[in-house]
């Protein structure tokens, strides 16, 4: 019995780590060009785009969950996408959760990277250009290393926020073990069914995890400040 319980308890942990890792990777790939554009563009409507990216910060997860449930369904774009591999909805699936997570964690990744690009200023890229570095080369060998603390902060925050998300996942997940039953949902289920031992093990783990994340962030910031001065 106790073995049974512990096996069941680790599945949501593994699933959550997979979800958060994949989401973070996707967000770094999508978020970097977006952050670069937000930091460097002179376009008048870029703050509109920035606000749109930041909207999940203030929206209740139920708003996102509600629209995602419809958008991922058979009458939305998600359903159309799902027919490519013979499904009819992206709700209740791991890819569906990844889409949701990318949307609601995006501001946590894009903003720190954008801030880092902005703090760097125009000068390093101009210098690189006078040394005949191509913009592509200058980006990778000058901008990215200079902005690396921003990338690190963004990656950690994006990962942590995905681990911590609950409302959206509850609304679009369907609590399928091994596919959509992530940590936060598992804890909720355990509490609701009075399995407090299991709930405590996972909940305490989350507290320790969150503490470590915040501590790491603070230490990185301190180190960066010291290096800068």
């Amino acid at each position: 019995m106790s073995l049974n319980v512990s096996g069941e308890i680790w599945q949501p942990v593994r699933l959550t780590l997979e979800l958060a890792s994949l989401t973070t990777i996707i967000l770094l790939v999508l978020g970097t060009p977006l952050a670069w554009w937000l930091a460097r563009s002179k376009s008048w409507w870029k703050e509109g785009v920035a606000a749109l990216v930041a909207v999940p910060l203030v929206l209740p997860p139920t708003v996102l969950g509600f629209y995602l449930l419809i958008a991922l369904g058979p009458n939305g774009p998600g359903g159309m996408l799902a027919t490519l591999w013979g499904g009819r909805t992206l709700a209740f699936t791991f890819p569906g959760l990844v889409i949701g997570s990318v949307l609601f964690s995006m501001p946590f990744v894009v903003q720190p990277i954008r801030n880092a690009f902005e703090a760097m200023g125009d000068r390093p890229m101009e210098v690189a250009a006078t040394l005949r570095a191509s913009p592509w080369r200058a980006f990778w060998s000058v901008a990215v290393p200079l902005a690396s603390p921003g990338f690190l902060t963004g990656a950690i925050l994006g990962f942590a926020h995905t681990v911590g998300e609950f409302g959206v996942v509850l609304m679009i997940g369907g609590s399928v073990p091994g596919k959509t039953k992530v940590l936060s949902v598992a804890i909720y289920d355990y509490v609701e069914t009075s399995q407090w031992t299991e709930a405590s093990v996972l909940a305490l783990g989350m507290i320790v995890f969150s503490f470590c994340v915040i501590l790491t962030m603070t230490l990185i910031e301190k180190r960066v400040a010291r290096l800068a001065s």
Partner: protein, 255 residues
């Protein structure tokens, strides 16, 4: 300062308003199992019209309410979706023993938005769908009844990979309503007012009766509105509403 004076005036007016309302009637907080949502709203409206008392309704999973009540949640009455949890609350000394009664007997339905999908148990046996929505069987009695039905039909093992779980029966309904699951086990009460599609009334022989019990909590023992609501729930007006929403009634519980 003008704005603060305005604020004080507004607060004063609000307080007067509250005081006058309170002079005539009191209110009670009722925790309502999700499947009973629509019926409870109608009953609360009738209750208010008749007695002047207000029943403030909170909707959720019975399991969640049970946990909250154990941690002294702010309710005076629980309308559960089962009889286990009210019984347990009585045993644990959190509810008034003689107040417990069965206010409704729930009916399980297999439902699809598509008018041609559900034909009967053969729809399940034919297995021509990708997702079957049920309520979480450990927290919601209608979910447990759904699992019981699948086991009685010897289909549970085949269906398991297709099952998606809503946290409450409302969410199980919502998964079918948004088209994300082709079919699902819902409460007959949720289909009141003609939601369309196709449905199969699951025969009572396939699952144990869903006896939904109401219980007055110890925290509501002295509350006039709470006592009045419990009485009203047993009366003919409330029972007519409950029947209209597709529940069966326990002949022993009427007044």
């Amino acid at each position: 300062m003008k704005p603060s004076r305005l604020l004080v005036a507004a607060l004063g007016a609000a307080a007067c308003l509250l005081a006058t309302v309170n002079a005539f009637a009191s209110s009670t907080n009722v925790a309502v199992a999700a499947n009973f949502t629509d019926a409870a709203k109608e009953i609360a409206a009738k209750f208010k019209a008749k007695t002047g008392h207000e029943a403030v309704l909170s909707f959720g999973a019975s399991g969640q309410f049970y946990t909250q009540i154990k941690e002294s949640g702010p309710f005076q009455i629980l309308l559960s979706a089962d009889d286990e949890r009210p019984k347990k609350l009585v045993e644990e000394g959190l509810a008034v023993p003689e107040s417990r009664f069965t206010y409704a007997i729930g009916k399980l339905v297999l439902w699809s938005k598509d008018p041609n999908t559900v034909k009967g148990e053969e729809t399940l046996k034919a297995n021509a769908f990708s997702k079957l929505s049920i309520a979480n069987p450990t927290a919601a009695p209608y979910g447990a009844a759904a699992v019981e039905t699948l086991k009685a039909l010897k289909l549970y093992d085949v269906m398991q990979p297709k099952i998606v779980m809503g946290n409450t029966i409302s969410q199980a309904f919502q998964f079918v309503d948004t088209g994300n699951a082709e079919l699902g086990f819902v409460a007959l009460s949720q289909l009141a007012g003609d939601k369309g599609g196709s449905q199969w009334m699951v025969p009572q022989s396939l699952y144990s009766e869903i006896r939904q019990d109401a219980v007055l909590l110890k925290s509501g023992a002295g509350n006039e509105a709470a006592a009045a609501f419990m009485t009203f729930l047993k009366g003919p007006e409330a029972r007519a509403v409950i029947e209209k929403f597709g529940y069966a009634l326990d002949p022993k519980s009427g007044t």
